[in-house]
């Protein structure tokens, strides 16, 4: 998923610079220096020389978890300097497969794992070394809410791809092991965004996306693997077909879904498609579209411009996604320890609170709660009206006191998840059909 990823144009340059010095040469240099120094007897402070190695992690991800504030705070708390390499989800995946040595820590989505794990380019993390692992929300580990309610498991649900059979295995394990593909960090439930001022009536079903009433004013994402999931939600909502698994369609099901989308396109239903965060914000803010697939922070961005926009809960539920951390297969030794230190820091609360305040959810709720004010927790997580003005992580005003979050509480939103972003077995066929749909 391409979350706001254009924020850091200089990252590729930065990463290019650092990849010139590999960890190995750094160590060699340090060791040589140590030998020389101890040999000459000038310096006895061996640990001092070791700690002179800068604590740097090259961090490849989509921008969801990459805030300058997170980087600053991490440096302050742990002394680890994060070098962000920001790209769209597709580009992150491409980079892992083609240049696995160009990053240390990987922040990516669970659905990409179906491509990444068989490629053998990522290293699973050891659950035993993750302090908060047992406190990670059961959404990831068991597929249900903390209150026990089951969550929809269609698509690439995180708990299906969370564990590996062994340290170097390329096969997902059905039962918990200590080898975790991605240590979860953040997730959310996506739905349609609407302009209530232009629609002027309640919207309650995914079917409305293809309602001819909104002809020429609807939009969908032009990211095949996510767009087709939204289309599948619509197909089921209109009662035309019920999928066994929306996230893993058969060829016939793909044909059926694309046929419906194509018919709508030919009838002029869509104003435009979007493929990045800013496009979706602009379409909605300018009134070109009144109903479209959208991400929660994009809705917030429209609202910040003073334009009414709702992240509309729908009766069929949400399409969810989740991301987490693992490391490149090239990482070992001291660098790997550093990666564990970083992941442990990330789950320790500050970063979780930061993400929660953006409207996402933190993987470890207990630590995030400790880092948030009670009124913030009540607004973001419990679905209660805001006692005070709600501010974003950067201190900007998001909502006035008294407002209630769209979709309500954590339990209401995550409890209504119908499916997860997915890579299908028939991905290749789906991509061809998607091209056909665009050409229609």
């Amino acid at each position: 998923m391409s979350k706001p990823s254009d924020n850091k144009p200089s990252d590729s340059k930065r990463s290019g610079k650092t990849s010139g010095i590999s960890r190995r040469t750094m160590l060699k240099g340090a060791a040589g220096f140590t030998g020389l120094a101890t040999g000459s007897g000038a310096i006895t402070g061996f640990p001092y020389v070791m700690s002179a190695e800068p604590k740097v992690l090259r961090y490849l991800g989509t921008g969801v978890n990459e805030g300058d504030l997170i980087g600053t705070q991490c440096l302050k708390d742990t002394g680890i300097k994060l070098e962000y390499i920001t790209a769209t989800t597709d580009d992150v995946t491409k980079r892992v497969i083609t240049q696995p040595n160009s990053f240390d820590v990987l922040d990516t989505e669970y659905f990409s794992l179906k491509k990444l794990v068989p490629s053998g380019n990522i290293l699973a993390l050891d659950a035993k070394k993750i302090k908060e692992f047992d406190n990670i929300t059961p959404v990831f580990t068991k597929g249900h809410l903390p209150n026990g309610k089951k969550i929809g498991d269609q698509g690439t649900a995180p708990w299906k791809v969370l564990y590996l059979e062994g340290k170097n295995s390329k096969v997902f394990s059905k039962t918990p092991t200590e080898f975790v593909t991605l240590i979860p960090t953040v997730y959310n439930a996506d739905t349609l965004g609407i302009r209530p001022d232009l629609i002027k009536r309640p919207i309650s079903s995914w079917a409305e996306l293809l309602n001819p009433e909104f002809k020429g004013k609807a939009s969908i994402l032009n990211i095949p693997s996510i767009g087709i999931m939204d289309a599948a939600m619509v197909v089921e909502a209109t009662g035309q077909y019920k999928y066994a698994d929306k996230g893993n369609m058969t060829k016939a099901e793909i044909d059926l879904t694309m046929k419906l989308l194509t018919e709508a396109k030919k009838a002029g239903q869509f104003r435009a498609f979007w493929s990045d965060f800013n496009q979706s914000v602009n379409l909605m803010a300018s009134g070109e579209t009144v109903i479209q697939s959208m991400w929660s922070p994009a809705v917030t961005a429209v609202r910040k411009k003073g334009i009414p926009c709702v992240f509309q809960p729908l009766k069929e539920g949400y399409r969810s996604w989740a991301t987490g951390f693992c490391v490149s297969k090239g990482v070992s030794g001291a660098k790997l320890d550093l990666a564990y230190e970083f992941v442990n820091w990330f789950l320790s609360g500050w970063a979780g609170a930061y993400l929660n305040r953006q409207g996402y959810y933190s993987a470890v709720l207990s630590t995030a709660q400790k880092s948030m004010e009670p009124y913030e927790w009540a607004y973001w997580m419990e679905g209660k009206p805001a006692e005070k003005d709600i501010k974003g992580p950067d201190g900007s005003l998001l909502e006035k006191a008294g407002t209630v979050r769209d979709g309500g509480s954590y339990d209401d939103r995550m409890g209504s998840v119908a499916c997860w972003n997915a890579v299908m077995d028939e991905n290749d066929y789906m991509v061809r059909k998607w091209n056909e749909f665009i050409a229609a």
Partner: protein
């Protein structure tokens, strides 16, 4: 005599050498790799170096069964060719007119240079920014629609102004007319003015002079400008994406979707097809005019 011609030959090779090496290293060899990879097989996450025509057969999937309807790839190329033709003819007319004005109506050299520099001003910002600048102008609630509605020319905002074939062609013309102007202007200023006087003296009308003297002599410029415009439009997917609201297919977009899905051999196959199509167009244009002879 013989020795000096050998020496001249060696010097010529040395002079051409660096460029030839750059061309070989950064163009021909990568291109060769693209062609090789286009015949590989692939799965979800890697390329398999096994000979396979799958990239091509998948691309032309259903082309025979769907006849007389066009399959995806043919429809895509059909629409790309349509854009090519529209953009080419509009930029040619505008570009020719501008070049004509600069070459024959502007008398002073310094004004000619000044005015042609003026044409380059839009190039001081990036393509994408110049494209995006159209969006608030053409949108449903954009400036143009507001003006039209307020002037009571239309009752409802015009929908086809933005995210349509119209907006794509408009952006292309806006972005690339200059590539027509420069080569045509370059050809025109080299036309001997006495030829025009001779035509005038022989009793030709302005139109006859244009058709029989100026256009034939501007041909190399026209062909070079056309090659610029056609190659750009054939390969473009950003302009078509942004101005067409991502709803219009282009050959470049197919390649991009394939790359995003890590289906590199299929992407390479599409790149080879695109290259072949573009080469065919350019080849037939150079058949019409022998640029080397005319230069």
């Amino acid at each position: 005599m013989h020795q000096s011609s050998v020496r001249r030959n060696v010097v010529a090779w040395l002079q051409a050498g660096p460029m030839a090496l750059v061309f070989l290293a950064f163009f021909l060899i990568p291109l060769l790799f693209v062609v090789i990879v286009s015949f590989w097989d692939y799965n979800d996450y890697e390329m398999l170096p096994i000979f396979s025509g799958r990239g091509y057969t998948d691309t032309f999937e259903g082309c025979l069964q769907q006849l007389p309807e066009f399959c995806t790839i043919l429809r895509t190329y059909g629409s790309t060719l349509k854009f090519c033709f529209l953009v080419w003819s509009i930029t040619l007319v505008i570009g020719f007119t501008v070049a004509y004005f600069l070459a024959f109506h502007v008398r002073s050299k310094s004004w000619q240079i000044g005015l042609s520099l003026l044409c380059t001003i839009p190039f001081w910002t990036s393509n994408v920014i110049r494209m995006i600048a159209w969006i608030p102008l053409l949108g449903r609630n954009g400036l143009v629609n507001k003006a039209l509605v307020e002037a009571k020319i239309v009752n409802q905002p015009l929908e086809w102004l933005l995210f349509s074939e119209f907006s794509v062609v408009l952006a292309f013309v806006h972005l690339f007319t200059f590539f027509m102007v420069v080569p045509i202007f370059n050809s025109m200023i080299r036309i001997d003015k006495s030829l025009i006087e001779a035509a005038y003296d022989a009793g030709a009308t302005g139109f006859q002079t244009l058709v029989n003297v100026i256009i034939p002599l501007s041909k190399p410029g026209i062909v070079i400008g056309s090659i610029f415009v056609i190659t750009i439009v054939m390969g473009d997917f950003i302009t078509i994406g942004v101005m067409g609201g991502q709803q219009i297919a282009s050959a470049g977009k197919i390649i991009q979707t394939r790359l995003d899905a890590i289906q590199f051999p299929a992407a390479a196959a599409n790149a080879v097809i695109l290259l072949a199509a573009t080469m065919m167009i350019i080849f037939s244009m150079t058949r019409l005019v022998d640029i080397r002879r005319e230069l």
